[in-house]
Amino acid sequence: MRRRAGLLRLAAVVLLLGFTWIASPALLPALAVWLAAMAVNMRLAGRTEPWMRWVVAAIFGLTVVLVWELAVRALNVPQVILPPPSAIWSSLIAKGAILRGDFVQTILKGALTGWLLGAAAAILTAVAIDRSPFLQRGLLPIGNFVAALPIVGIAPILVMWFGFDWQSKAAVVVVMVFFPILVNMMAGLAATDALQRDQMATWSAGYWQALWKLRLPAALPFLFNGLKITTTLALIGAIVAEFFGSPTQGMGFRISTSVGQLDLPLVWAEILVAAIAGTLFYGIVSLIERRATFWHPSQRS
């Protein structure tokens, strides 16, 4: 059984190599790299060490980049269609100053300011309407509904109101992140059970004491869920809003103008920066979550 599977696999590899030989011999190195890496990964995936998972994922990622490079070079793909990773890397190094300026303009000024303001507004709103079940019943369905809408569309309106600079981008981000965080925070404030609230009452804790000592901490896991979901939304809002008008700086501006100038390596470098920024943003929020809600079952072990 095992031997037959091995033979079948070998036959498939030979067939694949043969077809590539006939169709486009230049692609053979790329294919060989791919097959070799997959063979290594098949070996490693059987191991049980926990860190092996990361090795396998890293090998896969590196293989994709290498195959991309080899295939683009072998087939002479024009740079205006798909630049090789090496060209993207050299663009990243050569235009570091531009990329840094765009990062500050879009991520720090636009996305981060908007995200902080939107989160603060959502948390305060959730606490404010917490004492009115009537308002909660009215706002919750609307919040859930709005969270599914294509809110990025308000970007042209807010660009008209707040001008081309980062203020309008921050405003778009505020609107985009407000409702997901609000809905999560409202669920979090409702997360305590009667036993815990009774305990607070027997200690004769007032509303504010109970809120501060019991219900806000209990709401934190829900709040962080909302905060994590919205990190990506914040970046998307800040970048897309720049497509509707921006100063001559910013990641969305650079992407749309560099595409027009067919400077694709710079576009890919911007996208790489956006990807790294998005992952870091999410990672930092997760790290704060681990510190703030260390007592919650989801964070243990």
């Binding site: 994922a57 019943r137 369905p141 294509p150 008209m160 595409v259």
Partner: protein
């Protein structure tokens, strides 16, 4: 039913705030006009005028409603000014991309659940991709495909397929893994083959997860299509409508396009919700 009154109240408050904001934001223009004509103008004169400006800073709700009604019912469906036509352009690209992306995500999820190599190679990247603003590639995809001669529906569908692919993949993998050890042991004690386990246990128990991620995916696909319609040169679709409105300061047009997009998104999510309820009820999984 106990939600109806509060929801209507909140909606009423929102409309009231909207009218107040419209009066406040549009009043300056009326005052400037009056000052230029050398007249003085009272609030009683300003208020009705702020409701019917040609290009208001914030159109009043009834102006948006009129614009929406005119775009949907007041034009021939084939007209360039018809929101039905623009909506259809957007909807068709969204659905095409959503279908392709969902199918690809489900297939890869099946592969990942059955292959340790694929799981360890692809899954970390798929999860990490959720934190990346993928939408930023939209203008590049449009322009690159246009330079290859591919225009119209296809480039937008590529973007929405890409955006709906990852949520479906991650949700479907979680769903296919949701049967616990006891259920899998039971299948083994019945001497079930791997394909039996898949069709009779894994696939049915993945459906609640699948529907949850489908709702996320269709909303993402719609946003992807609209953003795909933004790069210069696009003349069709709700995104192009938003962009041309922002170029020419036609605020009523922007708001009408925005509400059309919202109606479309709500209809798609509600449709999926209805399919979900029907399916889960038939399978006895309804909560």
């Amino acid at each position: 039913m106990r939600h109806v009154v509060p929801v209507l109240t909140v909606l009423g408050v929102i409309v009231a705030i909207w009218y107040a904001a419209a009066i406040g934001m549009n009043a300056r223009w009326e005052r400037d006009q009056a000052a230029r004509a050398g007249e003085t103008i009272t609030w009683a004169e300003i208020v009705p005028r702020t409701m019917s400006q040609e290009r208001p800073i914030l159109p009043a709700p009834h102006q948006v409603g009129a614009g929406l009604w005119d775009g949907i019912a007041g034009q021939a469906v084939t007209s360039r000014r018809s929101l039905v036509w623009h909506g259809w352009v957007t909807l068709s690209a969204t659905l095409a991309g959503f279908g392709v992306g969902t199918a690809a995500g489900m297939l890869l999820a099946v592969g990942i659940v059955h292959s340790r190599v694929m799981d360890q190679s692809v899954m970390p990247w798929a999860v990490a991709s959720q934190t990346v603003p993928i939408l930023a590639i939209a203008p590049m995809v449009i322009v690159v495909l246009a330079s290859l001669g591919v225009k119209g529906l296809l480039p937008k569908a590529v973007i929405s397929a890409w955006l709906s692919f990852f949520p479906v993949l991650v949700g479907m993998v979680a769903g296919l893994r949701s049967p616990d050890g006891m259920q899998l042991d039971l299948m083994r004690s019945w001497n079930a083959s791997p394909s039996h386990v898949f069709w009779r246990l894994r696939l049915p128990s993945s459906l609640p997860w699948l529907f949850a991620s489908l709702k996320v995916a269709i909303a993402a696909a719609l946003v992807g299509t609209i953003v795909g319609e933004l790069p210069a040169g696009a003349t069709q679709g709700l995104g192009a409508r938003l962009l041309s409105g922002s170029y020419y300061g036609q605020t009523v047009q922007i708001w009408a396009a925005l509400f059309t997009a919202a109606i479309l998104a709500a209809a798609l999510v509600m449709l999926l919700g209805a399919v979900e309820r029907l399916t889960l009820r038939r399978m006895g999984l309804a909560r």
